[in-house]
């Protein structure tokens, strides 16, 4: 098992590369989701404000 992690002595290089890859993709996954939730809540607020303005005017 240890031999596997050591990767013939190059463990640090191999594992850090794979780690960078995975972390980068996780960030790429999270970014649009965060933006989506933000947009939804922002638009929700905008619509409720619009609706209340319309009701006041009516």
């Amino acid at each position: 098992m240890n031999e596997f992690f050591a990767m013939g002595g190059y463990g640090a290089y191999v594992w850090s590369s794979f780690a960078i890859f995975v972390i980068a993709l996780l960030l790429d996954f999270a970014a649009p989701r965060v933006r989506y939730r933000k947009t939804i809540s922002e638009l929700r607020g905008r619509y409720t404000r619009q609706k209340s303005r319309q009701e006041k005017a009516a």
């Binding site: 596997f4 990767m7 013939g8 002595g9 190059y10 290089y13 191999v14 850090s16 590369s17 794979f18 960078i20 890859f21 980068a24 993709l25 960030l27 790429d28 996954f29 970014a31 649009p32 989701r33 933006r35 989506y36 947009t39 939804i40 638009l43 929700r44 905008r46 619509y47």
Partner: protein, 253 residues
Amino acid sequence: MNKLTLWFHKFGSPPIFHRIAGLLMPWLYGTAVLGGILAMYGGLFVAPADYQQSDAYRIIFVHVPCAWMSMFAYLFMAVNAFIALVWRIKISEILAMASAPIGAIFTAVTLLTGSIWGKPMWGTWWTWDARLTSELVLLFLFLGVIGLYNAIEDRRQAARAAAFLALVGVVNVPIVHFSVNWWNTLHQGSTVRLLGPSRIDSSMLWPLLLMALATHLWFFASVLARARVSTLELEAGKDWARNVVLNERTSHE
């Protein structure tokens, strides 16, 4: 109007795009992750150690697919940029701008993993040879497109300006690809070929190709995810957007 243009027209309609993208996304992400895990298993466990580079070569299973994706992402962006500029199709503007951040990420990972691989193999973190330099230029091009898009207020004009920049820079993609053939570089030449046999052992080839497939699927999933948010933002005043936003509340909370 033939069937293809009709289909494209329908797909380009924002509410339909929003719905279809939402349906496709989980499948694309899922298969991408599955493929990626299988590929990593193949690359780390099944493939034997290289006789020259021992186990360090395994970085190839991450570095090369990312490099391929960095070029694919730019070409995808450039094609959509062209459509956006010539035919002013809104969905193409959105897709072009959505592929820039993903392309930048793949390019950055390519450069970083390549640098890490270079240290034990070449003895240096960096060298200014043709391939590395042109890949770095590719990263700057992506960042430029993103920067320009964010700097202009009007979203459609911003997309058109950034699309124009993307097209101006597309000449760099063949430079990156053919750099190892055209110049004497430290970076090794191509071993995987599209047509004809590849100069790489099959036990190493399948994880590589599988990871390439997985990253492609991930790319499309990510593009759709970002494009979906952008369509919602840009169409905020329309009724369909309002319906989507209000329905989200009931299904997610």
